[in-house]
């Protein structure tokens, strides 16, 4: 088993507008991307579990030509509202780093 953080070239989060957060999990080469994709460990359900959400709240995409997996979720607090801690949404990806890939 290998942590996703060791296989990806970049895992990042960012605002997708003020009301959604989006996560990009990007790979250097086709083989690693296909290994992660085929493992079935990075799924809509798994992303939902990482953030305590229902799978129906997660938009999930496999982007073959970008060698990337992408997910988007509604922001629990809208960007810039008084309780928002991360105006750019840039530090919300850490829970994805620990997903174990066989």
């Amino acid at each position: 088993m290998t942590a996703l953080a060791k296989l990806a070239r970049l895992i990042r989060s960012k605002n997708a507008g003020p009301f959604e957060l989006t996560f990009d999990i990007m790979f250097e080469d086709e083989a690693t991307y296909q290994r992660v994709k085929a493992s079935g460990m990075v799924t809509r359900e798994r992303v939902a579990a990482c953030y305590g959400l229902e799978p129906s709240q997660v938009k999930f995409f496999l982007c073959d030509n970008a060698l990337a997996i992408k997910a988007s979720i509604p922001r629990p607090v809208f960007q810039g509202d008084p309780r928002d801690s991360d105006g750019h949404g840039g530090q919300q990806y850490a829970p994805l780093m620990d997903i174990e890939i066989p």
Partner: protein
């Protein structure tokens, strides 16, 4: 016209670009120069207050080089989302910069200003007609939201740019605009396939952000043809690969395959990315699906209140192990003290006290999956948002005193529980985004009035629009 060449000097006007890259790009004879100048990404304060996220001097530097370059080549310069939020005050700020530069450099050109700030009566009318619809997710939006808003802007599509170009504008400065529309407008006007025009625009709008490794904000260049386009960064040290270009559609988008614009949806499902040279990429197969109904997205900001903040930290392990309980008891004490001070003059709902605990869930809040902490110290921020700065400041002051001496069962006697590096800070007005809706206008340009000017050095003369 078989080929249109498009130059994007940088991702945001004011973030900078390398002059050598820009000169190289000009030597490739672009037919149009486009630049995005705003975003919601820096937060609601800019749209709400009218300030700009990048400093005036930095915007002046970029705009001056772009104006000089565009006038030297006699090609249009299109700038969208002026002044970060693209409201009327920010548009006027950019207008003044253009005039200053024209005067200093002795430039002559036809200028179009396109307004994106929305008239509140217009929005009320469209709301009553049921022609304002929520996107998902969206805050509630009613006539009271419109009344409360400091500014509401519409995000214009390609049509207002095309109208300005058809009116003979050499320089177009637009309020809030779709980043992509800035670049797609001229190719669409000249009959290039919309799928390719919008996709090229999507890549260009971020400048050199889609290269493998960007060193600094810089230029991007596209050659658009009838069945494909090619992108390459003018700096020979920057490389585009099929993967880097394909990846760019992921950035800051919820859906990487479908990008919604006013007039339809850019569909990248069947896009093909091929390496043309070791550092340029050929793209084909992108499609544009026209919308059943034309829609314009709204962005609005209202004042959330005035804020004061206090920063402190805790090192006592007794307090750290009961931090949730400690902050809950503290909040109760603060609210009680506020009642004693203000009585009926300030209701509980009139202000917001929020305690953020760094070292626990300060960064992720409700999304934080780690519940057990092992930190030996915690940083606390106490934020008070209230109807006036004076009230916010008063409550922050109350907060400091209550937090300092809140007792815990482990110690008897007066404790000092929080280390504060300085007194509380007054932040002034704070804002929130309050709209995620679209308007169904009668016409793509009706929400975006245009002013035309003939600029001759220091002279400016208004023309009939």
């Amino acid at each position: 016209m078989e080929e249109m060449r498009i130059l994007s000097p940088t991702g945001v006007c004011g973030s900078g670009f390398v002059e050598n890259s820009f000169e190289k790009a000009l030597s490739q004879k672009p037919h149009v120069i486009g630049c995005d100048a705003g975003s919601t990404d820096p937060g609601p304060a800019y749209l709400g207050s009218g300030r700009t996220a990048f400093p005036r001097e930095a915007i002046h530097r970029d705009l001056r080089l772009m104006l000089l370059g565009a006038r030297r080549l006699k090609v249009p310069l299109l700038v969208g989302s002026a002044g970060t939020g693209g409201n009327d005050a920010q548009l006027e700020g950019m207008h003044q910069l253009v005039k200053e530069i024209a005067a200093a450099e002795g430039l002559s050109f036809q200028l179009a200003l396109i307004h994106a700030e929305q008239n509140k009566d217009y929005l009320r009318k469209r709301l009553r007609e049921g022609r304002i619809k929520p996107l998902d997710p969206a805050p509630g939006f009613d006539e009271e939201t419109i009344d409360r808003s400091e500014h509401i802007v519409g995000m214009m599509g390609a049509e207002p740019f095309i109208r300005a170009l058809e009116a003979g504008a050499d320089v177009v400065i637009a309020g809030r605009a779709s980043d992509t529309a800035i670049f797609a407008s001229m190719p669409i006007m000249r009959g290039f396939p919309e799928g390719l025009a919008w996709h090229a625009g999507k890549i260009l709008e971020c400048g050199a952000a889609s290269v493998v490794q960007r060193k600094t904000p810089d230029c991007m260049f596209a050659w658009l043809r009838k069945d494909h386009f090619v992108v390459e960064a003018p700096d020979p040290g920057l490389t585009c690969t099929p993967q880097s270009i394909a990846s760019h559609s992921l950035y800051e988008n919820a859906d990487p395959f479908r990008l919604v614009e006013c007039s339809g949806t850019l569909d990248l499902t069947h896009s093909r990315y091929e390496a043309l040279t070791p550092r340029s990429v050929k793209v084909s197969g992108s499609r544009f699906i026209p919308a059943q109904r034309y829609t314009v997205k709204l962005e609005g900001a209202e004042k959330a209140g005035y804020q004061s903040i206090l920063i402190g930290s805790v090192r006592d392990p007794f307090i750290i192990r009961q931090i949730d309980d400690w902050t809950a008891r503290l909040e109760e004490k603060i609210h009680g003290r506020v009642r004693m001070v203000y009585g009926d003059r300030l209701k509980h709902d009139d202000y917001l006290l929020f305690i953020r605990v760094y070292g626990k869930n300060g960064t992720m809040g409700a999304l934080e999956p780690v519940k057990e902490i092992r930190s030996h110290e915690l940083c606390l921020t106490f934020e008070v948002t209230a109807p006036t700065q004076e009230i916010a400041s008063t409550i922050a002051s109350i907060t400091r005193h209550q937090a300092l001496h809140l007792p815990i069962p482990e110690w008897s006697g007066l404790i000092t529980a929080v280390a504060c590096p300085y007194n509380h800070l007054d932040r002034g007005a704070v804002y929130r985004f309050n709209v995620n809706h679209v308007v169904e206008p009668g016409d793509p340009c009706e929400m975006f009035p245009m002013d035309l000017f003939a600029i001759k050095g220091t002279q400016e003369e208004r023309r009939a629009a």
